[in-house]
């Protein structure tokens, strides 16, 4: 069964909510160690009385889901599957701080109610009155990939003919401090292009990506999803090479049929070690994306959105592919992602 992306939307650091925008305005050197999201006018996508109570992540998730539906030209879906690595940090932080600062007194329920990881999936269901299958994955860097695998399985089982699948993560001041003091985020004075980094730490990011997938091709189809694979961990880059080779065999592709690899290098010289080795070994054109969206647990949504756009537009933005001759006849894109050398994933999207 072929599975198609018939609609999609992405909120990221850049103006990806504008469907005409494709990174024409940016160079390739990162400017900050924190890439916060460029938000849409939420009123265009969520009833005004609901926006007031929603936290940043819920607004990002729900509006991106609604934008994806619009892009697919539909109002209803049979199932909603979401992922989040960290969940609703702002509401969790708010409730926890109030609780700890006031010795468990003077608490109000709103932030507790919205702190659960399934808030976004529940709110989308509520907004479009979707009584169908509703699921939320919370498996760190593989949260979106597992959501996508489930969504694809629902189509194969014929439990659904259209699924809205997506993921979202937010960076809050508390989370930034936690990750920064823990040495995960790159120091401002050590910023470098992520593909040539000699320093530790990543650029932290946030964002949301949603996709309408179906087994039927439509006039709005972007690309087809050839395969998705989750990898708990690898011992070295040659293991990753072997897994990629096996994955390509499974989906019926040869290595030289991959037009471009989107590599999930984060800019951390230590944890990027294996993926950088792999990038050299695969001997195919490589592009990077985390200098545009930053590192977050569901950055794969950005990568998939980017890949499907590259296929539809048949053009690779210079910002992710510097110093290369332009590619033509772009057929298959392979996304290889990881988070700090834990949990790797592969996704392959192809031209229809």
């Amino acid at each position: 069964m072929e599975i198609y992306i018939n609609g999609m939307a992405c909120i990221s650091h850049h103006n990806t909510i504008d469907e005409n925008y494709f990174f024409e305005d940016i160079g390739s050197v990162p400017l900050s160690n924190q890439l916060t999201a460029t938000e849409p006018n939420y009123k265009d996508h969520i009833p005004a009385n609901l926006i007031r109570r929603m936290s940043h992540i819920v607004k990002m998730g729900v509006s991106t889901g609604m934008m994806s539906l619009k892009s697919a030209g539909i109002e209803k879906v049979d199932a909603i599957v979401t992922g989040t690595g960290m969940g609703c940090c702002e509401d969790t932080d708010k409730f926890l701080r109030t609780l700890l600062d006031n010795d468990e007194r003077f608490l109000t329920p709103t932030s507790f109610i919205q702190s659960t990881h399934n808030t976004v999936a529940g709110q989308i269901a509520l907004q479009i009155k979707c009584h169908g299958y509703n699921f939320t994955y919370v498996h760190q860097n593989l949260s979106f990939e597992y959501a996508l695998l489930d969504a694809m399985m629902l189509l194969k089982e014929e439990e659904a003919s259209t699924v809205l699948v997506g993921a979202v993560d937010e960076i809050t001041p508390s989370m930034f401090e936690l990750f920064y003091r823990g040495g995960h985020i790159k120091k401002l004075e050590e910023l470098q292009p992520i593909w040539n980094s000699t320093t530790k730490g990543y650029l932290v990011g946030e964002g949301a990506g949603f996709f309408n997938i179906s087994a039927n091709i439509t006039p709005s189809t972007y690309a087809k999803i050839k395969g998705v694979k989750c990898i708990q961990g690898i011992t070295d880059s040659s293991e990753l090479e072997n897994i990629v080779n096996f994955f390509l065999l499974e989906i019926g592709l040869k290595k030289d049929q991959i037009s471009l690899v989107l590599s999930g290098n984060s800019g951390d010289v230590v944890t990027d070690n294996k993926i950088s080795e792999f990038n050299k070994a695969i001997n195919q054109p490589i592009a990077y994306f985390k200098h545009l969206c930053g590192e977050y647990f569901t950055s794969s949504t950005f990568a998939l959105w980017l890949a499907a756009n590259i296929i539809k537009r048949q053009t690779v933005p210079l910002a992710i592919f510097p110093n290369h001759e332009p590619l033509s006849n772009i057929q298959n894109l392979l996304i290889v992602n990881h988070h700090e050398d834990h949990q790797y994933s592969l996704m392959c999207v192809s031209k229809c």
């Binding site: 608490l107 269901a125 994955y137 498996h139 399985m153 990750f179 961990g233």
Partner: protein, 396 residues
């Protein structure tokens, strides 16, 4: 999709016991695990009763013998260990093996102790490495050497039902041969205070399906089941505890926390479960209800049962007055209880109930019933975000 899904192992850590055997003893002796707060550090210590696992963190560390993990991982590890032992599984590489866990607050019990100090600069302990959902899943999978399919789910109080449903689908789709499924949630100040702000906690023993029910008692625990394919079971001549024949997942799409008065999401989940199981509602012999003891849940769930079963609602009870509401683990705790009911031909009672609910025409089982033949048992779980799930187990 002809593949059958069998339950071959179970493990449980809850307020009513640190093993399946202890759980059965408590259930068949009307022994509730809801008591005054013993272990959780909270200023509400004397305000509420809860269902704590009766072991301190130090005792859990000693019992597990895997090092200094937090309560989430320790509870989960011990339950998985028991389940694998019961299923006689030692070699993870002999078949495609998965691990699906679920949790709502993950390492919050640990985070809330260090959070304030960290931001005030008093400690630098990086609790985030233990906080996230997925961490305990990865730790447990790693400790047992499971790597073929490892994931975590969070759909509030229906989480573990969805873990079981996903596991069954993965076997039916021939993606896995066997999978350990369930959930874990330790008690935390975060959840205790959260439910308190919603004013749905009963300060005394909860009374599911009672006219004067005031709310729920929180519990904690972990429960995991081993699901195996027909092929696995036949090859190894496995002892079968039950068969997971039906599952349904639907969304109430009514309100972020409250259930609709007619229980539409619950109704849809049960209907889907019947469809997957290929049986009609009249086959069900017993329902282990979600039955939290909140005014809203029990009315909504009761109405949904009356709608779907008409004048023939099967025997039903909520066992949450034994264990407390264990949130993400609840559906797995109750799956273990449902399988124990089938195996031991018993229906465990709805404790503390005195007065018939005026909204309902149906009455739960409120004293232990023995020697009842249970061929098909349904277990319901609902959560925030409108998430509703229903499972059907068959005797086999």
């Amino acid at each position: 999709m002809a593949n059958k899904v069998f339950v071959t192992g179970m493990g449980i850590m809850s307020a009513i016991g640190n093993s399946v055997e202890e759980t059965l003893y408590s259930l068949s002796n009307n022994k509730s695990g809801i008591e005054k707060i013993r272990y959780l550090e909270t200023s509400h210590k004397d305000n509420f009763v809860v269902g704590e696992v009766k072991l301190s963190n130090t005792e859990l560390i000693e019992r597990a013998g895997i090092g200094n993990y937090n309560r989430t991982t320790l509870l989960g590890y011990l339950a998985v260990k028991e389940a694998l032992k019961m299923a006689s599984i030692t070699d993870m590489k002999e078949a495609r093996t998965g691990f699906i866990s679920s949790t709502t607050v993950a390492g919050m019990c640990h985070t809330e102790l260090l959070y304030k100090g960290f931001f005030e600069g008093k400690n630098n302990q990086n609790f985030i490495d233990y906080h996230l959902n997925g961490v305990s899943t990865n730790d447990i999978a790693g400790l047992f050497g499971i790597s073929d399919y490892v994931t975590s789910i969070s759909t509030a109080c229906s989480s573990a039902a969805n873990a079981m449903m996903l596991g069954a689908r993965l076997i039916k789709n021939n993606i896995l041969d066997r999978v350990i499924v369930g959930g874990v949630d330790p008690l935390s100040k975060f959840t205790l205070n959260g439910f308190n702000t919603l004013m749905i906690l009963d300060s005394e023993w909860s009374r599911p399906f009672d006219e004067n029910r005031k709310g729920l008692n929180l519990g904690e625990g972990a429960a995991f089941l081993v699901l195996e394919s027909e092929k696995c079971v036949k090859e190894k001549n496995k002892n079968i505890l039950a068969q997971l024949i039906g599952y349904g997942n639907a969304n109430d799409a009514f309100h972020q926390t409250a259930s609709s008065a007619e229980g539409y999401g619950a109704l849809l989940a049960m209907q889907k479960a019947f469809k997957v199981a290929g049986i009609t509602p009249d086959k069900i012999d017993y329902i282990n209800a979600h039955g939290t003891g909140t005014p809203n849940n029990d009315a909504s769930e009761g109405i949904a049962m009356q709608t779907i079963f008409g004048n023939h609602v099967p025997k039903f009870s909520s066992t949450k007055a034994f264990t407390g509401h264990t949130l993400a683990a609840a559906a797995a705790v109750e799956a273990v209880i449902s399988v124990l009911a089938i195996q031991n031909r018993m229906i465990f009672p709805c404790l503390n109930r005195k007065e018939q609910m005026k909204d309902l025409t149906i009455t739960p089982v409120d004293t232990l019933e023995k020697n009842v033949s249970l061929d098909y048992v349904m277990s319901n779980s609902f959560g925030f975000g409108g998430n509703c799930s229903s499972l059907i187990f068959a005797k086999n």
